[in-house]
């Protein structure tokens, strides 16, 4: 695991941009998706997706259901393995390594050249701990309190001691406005509160990029705002965010770039003012006319 140690020392060398009261440092990560194809049986979900996200950029992915938005997000942290193509975060390949390459991080092979080999599960888990993921259904651990949900991962992955993790968890819960709910179990919280705990849980690992898979789709309309406010706070603080959502207004407000996906292909992408207000493609216009 030489890769990981090299990476984490590198990570801690950069000043934190998220919160000035915070002592731990995060470097926003760059994400690249190259030629990714993904099939579920005979059905092609992703069809040669190319996406480059610069460090600190906020990308919103839009598209009709079944267009492959969630799959793309899940490919980025290797919850789904792409059949062809690869993903890299800060230049480090996710889930795979070049054949023959053992420890050098930051070496990006030219697409199509060099064979890719799957990494060990332990190595993949190590990479995932540097990529935050927020689920549509929160997926908090119901048998743990809000505080333990947030504190669990830094301890389990050996990044912090238990008291340090609990202190960090308290601080993060405070940041998402739930300092008073530390001892509550997830089922005792509202959907919006659960999702905010889930965001705090993702933040606890100090990820360089956070992926949001329809974070407000399972919420009552009146609870959507509190979650979006937390994400907006993250967006302005400089973390790289990739957000799958149906909240067009929110996309317009926070996105640096909007990506429109249809049938596993990126139809168009660009700043919200271009894609949302002056879409070039018929398919995008059609979709926007239905959701706006």
């Amino acid at each position: 695991m030489t890769t990981e140690t090299a990476e984490s020392t590198e990570l801690s060398a950069i000043t934190d941009t998220i919160d000035t009261t915070d002592t731990t440092e995060i470097r926003p990560a760059a994400v690249e998706v190259h030629g990714v194809h993904k099939w579920y049986g005979a059905h092609r979900v992703l069809d040669g997706v190319e996406l480059t996200v610069r460090p600190g950029e906020v990308t919103v992915i839009l598209g009709p259901s079944g267009s492959g938005k969630s799959t793309l997000l899940r490919v980025i942290n290797h919850l789904e393995k792409p059949e062809v193509g690869y993903v890299s975060v800060n230049g480090e390949l996710i889930g795979v390594r070049r054949h023959g390459e053992r420890s050098e991080a930051g070496v990006r092979p030219a697409a199509g050249r060099g064979r890719l080999k799957e990494l060990s599960e332990r190595a993949i888990l190590g990479q995932r701990s540097r990529i935050g993921f927020v689920f549509q259904n929160f997926n908090l651990f119901p048998h743990l309190t809000a505080l333990d949900n947030v504190a669990a991962a830094p301890v389990a992955t050996g990044k912090l001691t238990k008291p340090e993790a609990r202190e960090l968890a308290r601080e993060l819960l405070g940041r998402v406005g739930l300092a008073d709910k530390a001892g509550a179990y997830p089922r005792q919280l509202s959907g919006g509160q659960q999702q905010r705990v889930a965001i705090a849980r993702a933040l606890a690992l100090r990820p360089g990029v956070i992926l949001f898979d329809e974070p407000t789709s399972a919420l009552d309309p009146e609870l959507v705002g509190e979650v979006l406010a937390v994400i907006k706070d993250l967006a302005t603080s400089g973390t790289t965010l990739i957000i799958v959502t149906h909240e067009i207004g929110f996309a317009r407000e926070v996105a640096d770039r909007v990506v429109f996906l249809d049938e596993g292909r990126i139809v168009e992408q660009g700043p919200p003012s271009a894609v949302l207000d002056h879409p070039e493609h018929e398919r995008t216009r059609d979709f926007l006319s239905k959701v706006l």
Binding site: L79, S129, F135, P142, A152, A156, T157, R187
Partner: protein, 345 residues
Amino acid sequence: MSESPGAVVSLASAPPAEDTPEPRTARPAGTERPGDDTAPRPLAAQRVLPQRRPGRWIATAIVLVLVAQIAHGLVTNPFYQWDRFQYWFLRPTILDGLLITLEVTAYSAVLGLLGGILVALGRLSRSPVLRAVSWTYTWLFRSVPLIVVLLFLYNFSALYKTLSLGVPFGPAFFTFDESRLATDIVVAVVGLSLNEAAYASEVVRSGILAVDQGQHEAASALGLPRSYQFTKIVFPQALRSITPNYVNLLINLIKSTSLVFYVSLLDLFGSAQSMGSTYPGDIVPLLLVATVWYLILTSAVSVVQFYVERYFSRGATRTLPPTPLQKVRTGLRDLRARARREAAI
């Protein structure tokens, strides 16, 4: 909105509909005119009388009579010989048997559960070989009657003189003399554990499958190590549904230990049985002694089950289920509150 008088009065406390003129009798609930004693209370202020259920009372009476008859029969029928029951209940032979039962149950329960977890993990493994072997194990030991397993193991030393650990067809590293290793209690524990593990594996597997897929995903998205995912995230949640099913198995196991009698181990049932053949007149009280002890063991397990389930339901329910003591307390409080309410009306 019907025009019948009753309906009009019942509307009194509801906000009047826009198009209906407010009925003359309407007035807010609880504001009775002073000095107007003869006037009926407004409907809104009246208590609803519960429906009468004569059928329920008759059924209750019949059941009570039946229960009384059974109790009467148990106490007065000389066939049960309660004096002999009293004589045998705490005899050292019986208590020795009880100890064997407890010992065999405890070992087999622990080994069976551990084995069951291993087999369940094998069934859920990604390796087809592990899956096939685990499946075959469960299939085999669920098919063969426990008594056959026990008798087979009992005669095992005749089939294999020594047990050795080593490379198949190659050299052996450790060799055990089987006849020295296989005491009666070891045979009993091994047989029961093998059987228990087959059933426990399915209980454990069903518990693991009952944990939401999102939990596995969340755990691996956080990069939690595999062992941590299982021991701290998935298994604790699985235990909630494993517990009642495993207690079922455990109670069955307590009773199954009576089969070890056939491998010449004198457990609770075995001692009762052997005393019964020495004192043929006391067979019925001896069987009653065994029955009552089994009842006591099962009750103890059930009490433990309640608290274990309560512990594992943390987070699964918004409030923990009340303990019996808490139930009595809240019951009394509710009763008092109801009495006060009734007096007030």
